[in-house]
């Protein structure tokens, strides 16, 4: 995980939840590993304050999208592992679709040129 650099992007509000769902959708992960996974798949382009991850995780658990249970990590330390629930998977697919649609529309809008007569 890198320290702050210039080409890192600040997260849009509300996107952290989706990123977490994405990271966990590939298999159960503990909190630190979620961060690593996001860093890895984004190529380190996203800036996430490390501690901020946890309120988001707990919120998702409370919404019933994730389950959590204690286990042993690859570093041989106790850690809490998060996994998608069925509801979480459904929400993840839904939100992915929404995001893609929005991103597509935004891209189209921003790419539009002034048409010449």
């Amino acid at each position: 995980m890198q320290t702050t650099t210039e080409n890192q992007t600040q997260l849009l509000p509300g996107t952290l939840d989706l990123l977490i769902l994405k990271a966990v959708s590939l298999g159960p992960l503990h909190g630190y590993a979620v961060l690593l996974r996001i860093g890895q798949i984004s190529g380190g382009a996203l800036l996430i304050e490390q501690g901020a991850l946890y309120p988001a995780l707990f919120r998702l658990v409370r919404q019933g999208l994730l389950t959590a249970k204690w286990g042993i990590s690859e570093n041989n330390r106790r850690a809490k592992f998060y996994e998608l629930t069925a509801l979480g998977r459904k929400r993840f697919l839904q939100e992915t679709e929404d995001w893609n649609r929005l991103a597509g529309v935004m891209a189209t809008v921003l790419a539009a040129q002034v048409e010449e007569a």
Binding site: G31, Y32, L53, R59, S73, A79
Partner: protein, 886 residues
């Protein structure tokens, strides 16, 4: 769905919200990060340090995490409570003031609500109290009817599950010793069956026990009388006792909670109405024209609406009117609750208690406003602490929760204290017997409803004044506050706190205005002209019927009693009357023109209070004879019938006092009376009444066993009233020891008519005092706060040469301006409110310069007292010390 969310919330808060678990998870994260950093070449120590820094605010994320997990509300709450208690312990003065303020306000509300609850809300202690109605006349708030009319109503209606009747009477009870006076409820045979109650001991009397007049000499004791006078002796059942010299048999004892159906009358026992004549009643059971039965009541049949029942009763009434035009006037009916004698007492009591509840609610509101501004000031003083906590990562929600917890803790403390105080007060009130002669016990016991209301009020008021400083906290900008110290914006516009203070002062002014108005009214009514002079007068009250004196034996006995007292040392004169004005048991007669021949009630000119008096009554009672003569003992059965009337009577019948002299009129019995004198007007039934006609008849022409001896002494009986009373009793015992007598001063006999105004004045006075106290603390708090906030500015002003007056104006101008604003608003509202008071308190008029001046003066004094200390503080500002401190 809600339940599901709630359980999920509970489970999640149990499962993941645990603080230790969250900490462990966060720490595990940091360890993992440190592992990675160590692998990339840092020493373990450096790696851990960096991992911690990268992680960010540990405490902040732990708290946010906990909130996100929805967790540990209870644990957080316990923490809040502990923190608040610590905070409160640090400022004991503030805490004490706040708790006491609330204790007073909530206590007042609890007391008023308890009274309201036991008088109006709590149903009578009989089964199905909700469907029990008193049959009341349609055109006046009274239920008096004749016995035959009652029987017709009972038997001919189709709406009631039985109609019972009862009447109030006093008897001499002789259970082996000298007779004692007891108050009884004479009840119809079906009384207990209609009320659906079962005896505690023995049996009740029933309709089947009645076989005509004087056929059922039975007694049912109330539990309290059995307890007090028969020591709960179970063998009383079947015992024979003498009532007014007639043998009666005790049948049984009523259940403990039952003491009749009237809240303001606790009878000692019950006797059948058919035995009316044996217990001192002079009225004939069969006389349809004598409307002496006090009340008829019954349960409506299931499914019958009150309106239907009224129509049913009116139909019976109309037929009675037509059949007995000579005896029955207008016979329409309405239904009312029997517990407060229908609308007669019910309406004023309801209005008064509602008003009192409103006022005490206002007191609580004022207290809340007061505490709200105190809290706001406190929050402002604590802005630095709040800013620090915010900067350290506490959430605003958490800080607000803490403040609210503090507020609710204070209000719960105040509520508990107030409730405890009110319970003590209510005990005293329940034990109190306000009117010595009348068996009245105001049993006011707080029940679950009262406790619930007190708790609700406490929590609600805590939340109310707790949220007042909320915006202040939400607006706090931690960086500004920490940088600049407390932020004083020299705002000139009215803030929320100013508004609260104005409202509070206005409420206080309302209370002070209404209590002053009622105190003035009371003073006037006590010193007003009653139409008699109660000073220096002792009264002896007895019923000769209780000792068996009836018919022709009454008058000689009464004369002997008068003679035995007239020779007493220190006695100026003695007179006698069957009832006294303002005595509470007056009687009224229909008055007809002298030439009238058709004496049906509808033809009566007016109703006149009637008093049977002995010669010398006017001089002894202090009632001025305006013209004509007093009675003498020659106005007896063989002489022409004569009467003395009051001015109002003379004016109504003859137009003037002079015209009435020698005039002739008739009463119901058709005997023509000649007016031989005119006396001054007075008060006869209540202090608030308009002038009423009254007629005095010589006792030797219309004897009555009801006896009030009026004994005028040469000096005030005040101190030695006891002694004089004892001498009177011993003298009368020599005449006949079996006559139960009750001796008191005329003033204490007036207690019953003054009871209402007195209660009103006391309660308003107490509330007014509380309002004043709240206003003082409110203004004081505001002034002290504004002085302490601007101390530095004041110091600079002094240093620059400001005069004392200017300093004072700068420091206290604003609180005083608010005081004026509030007072004016409150005075205006108070004057409106006192219109209601005029119904209860005699001559309660707000258009009284003394009241207006008094209120203004009181408010000024309040302002002076409240701003005295802050003003002194502002004046003693020492600029040198102040400026050095910075």
């Amino acid at each position: 769905m809600k339940l599901f969310a709630w359980t999920q919330f509970l489970i999640s808060s149990l499962g993941s919200g645990d603080q230790r678990e969250i900490e462990e998870e966060l720490r595990s994260h940091i360890e993992h990060r440190a592992d990675d950093l160590a692998r990339s070449g840092f020493t373990r120590r450096e790696a851990e340090r960096r991992a911690k820094v990268e992680f960010g605010g540990f405490v902040k994320f732990r708290e946010q995490g906990r909130e996100a997990a929805g967790g540990q509300f209870l644990q957080g709450f316990a923490q809040d409570v502990r923190f608040s208690l610590r905070k409160l312990r640090k400022s004991p003065g503030f805490t004490l003031a706040a708790v006491l303020t609330l204790a007073l306000a909530i206590g007042a509300n609890a007391v008023v609500f308890s009274v309201l609850n036991s008088f109006l809300l709590r149903p009578l202690d009989v089964p199905d109290a909700g469907s029990l109605y008193e049959i009341q006349h349609g055109n006046e708030a009274s239920g008096f009817m004749s016995y035959p009319d009652y029987l017709d109503l009972r038997d001919r209606n189709h709406s009631f599950d039985g109609v019972a009747a009862w009447s109030v009477s006093a008897v001499g009870l002789d259970a082996g010793e000298n007779p004692t006076r007891a108050w009884i409820a004479e009840a119809s045979g079906n009384y207990f069956d209609v009320l659906r109650i079962q005896p505690f001991l023995g049996r009740f009397f029933h309709a089947s026990d009645e076989h005509g007049a004087n056929s059922a000499p039975y007694i049912v004791l109330t539990y309290a009388y059995w307890h007090d006078h028969f020591q709960e002796d179970r063998s009383v059942v079947g015992r024979a006792v003498m009532l007014d010299k007639h043998p009666f048999t005790i049948l049984g004892v009523a259940p403990p909670g039952f003491h009749g159906t009237l809240l303001f009358f606790n009878p000692d026992f019950f006797t059948p109405l058919v035995n009316h004549q044996q217990v001192g009643g002079v009225e004939d059971l069969n006389a349809r024209g004598l409307h002496w039965v006090f009340m008829a009541m019954g349960h409506l049949k299931p499914g019958v609406a009150p309106a239907q029942a009224i129509a049913d009763l009116n139909a019976v009434g109309a037929s009675l009117e037509k059949t007995y035009p000579k005896d029955d006037g207008k016979m329409t009916f309405s239904l009312a609750s029997p517990s407060l004698y229908g609308d007669y007492l019910g309406r004023p009591v309801k209005a008064f208690l509602a008003g009192l509840m409103l006022l005490s609610g206002l007191i609580l509101l004022a207290a809340c406003a007061n505490l709200g501004s105190l809290f706001a000031a406190r929050a402002a003083d604590r802005s630095r602490e709040v800013a620090l906590r915010l900067a350290l990562g506490a959430s605003r929600r958490r800080i607000l929760r803490g403040l609210l917890t503090e507020a609710v803790l204070i209000s719960l403390g105040g509520g508990a204290l107030g409730l405890a105080g009110s319970v003590v007060l209510l005990r005293a009130l329940s034990a109190w017997q306000p009117i010595p002669r009348w068996p009245l016990h105001l049993v006011v016991t707080p029940d679950g409803k009262v406790y619930a209301v007190a708790l609700l009020l406490a929590v609600a008021s805590g939340l109310l004044f707790g949220i007042i400083p909320m915006r202040q906290v939400l607006d706090t900008n931690p960086y500004e506050v920490v940088k600049a110290g407390s932020t004083v914006k020299a705002g000139r516009r009215l803030t929320l706190r100013d508004g609260l203070l104005v409202i509070q002062i206005a409420i206080c002014a309302v209370l002070i205005t209404s209590s002053m108005v009622s105190v003035r009214g009371l003073v006037r009514s006590v010193h007003g002209n009653f139409g008699f002079d109660p000073r220096h007068v002792m009264l002896v009250d007895t019923d000769l019927g209780m000792a068996g004196y009836l018919g022709d034996r009454v008058l000689p006995m009464q004369r002997r009693m008068m003679e035995s007292l007239s020779t007493m040392h220190g006695v100026d004169s003695v007179a006698l009357a069957d009832t006294l004005p303002l005595g509470g048991d007056g009687k009224a007669s229909s008055v007809f023109a002298g030439a009238a021949s058709d004496l049906r009630p509808a033809n009566a000119l007016f109703l006149s209070d009637t008093y049977d008096i002995s010669p010398g009554y006017f001089r002894t009672a202090g009632t001025a004879l305006l013209s004509g003569r007093d009675f003498n003992w020659h106005d007896d059965k063989d002489a022409p019938r004569v009467a003395v009337v009051n001015e109002e009577f003379a004016r109504r019948l003859f137009g003037s006092v002079g015209g009435a002299m020698g005039g002739i009129f008739q009463l119901q019995d058709g005997i023509r009376m000649q007016i031989v004198g005119v006396a001054e007007d007075g008060k006869y039934e209540s202090l608030t009444e308009d002038p009423k006609p009254a007629v005095y008849l010589p006792i030797s022409q219309s004897p009555s066993p009801n006896t009030w001896l009026v004994v005028r002494t040469s000096s005030a009986p005040g101190v030695d009233a006891q002694q004089t009373g004892a001498v009177i009793r011993s003298r009368l015992r020599l005449v006949d020891a079996s006559v139960p007598v009750f001796v008191q001063t005329w003033y204490s006999a007036l207690d019953s008519v003054l009871f209402g105004p007195r209660i009103a004045t006391i309660s308003l006075g107490v509330l007014g005092g509380m309002g004043a106290m709240l206003a003082i603390t409110g203004i004081f708090g505001m002034a002290a706060y504004s002085v302490s906030k601007r101390l530095r500015e004041l110091g600079i002003r002094v240093a620059l040469g400001a005069q004392r007056r200017e300093v004072l104006r700068a420091a206290l101008g604003r609180p005083l301006k608010l005081l004026m604003l509030g007072s004016v608003a409150g005075l205006a509202l108070g004057l409106l409110a006192t219109r209601v008071l005029a119904y209860i308190v005699y001559q309660a008029t707000p258009r009284d310069p003394l009241v207006l001046g008094g209120v203004v003066l009181a408010m000024l004094l309040l302002g002076l007292v409240a701003t005295w200390i802050p003003a002194r503080r502002a004046l003693t500002v020492n600029p040198l010390i102040l400026l050095r401190e910075e």
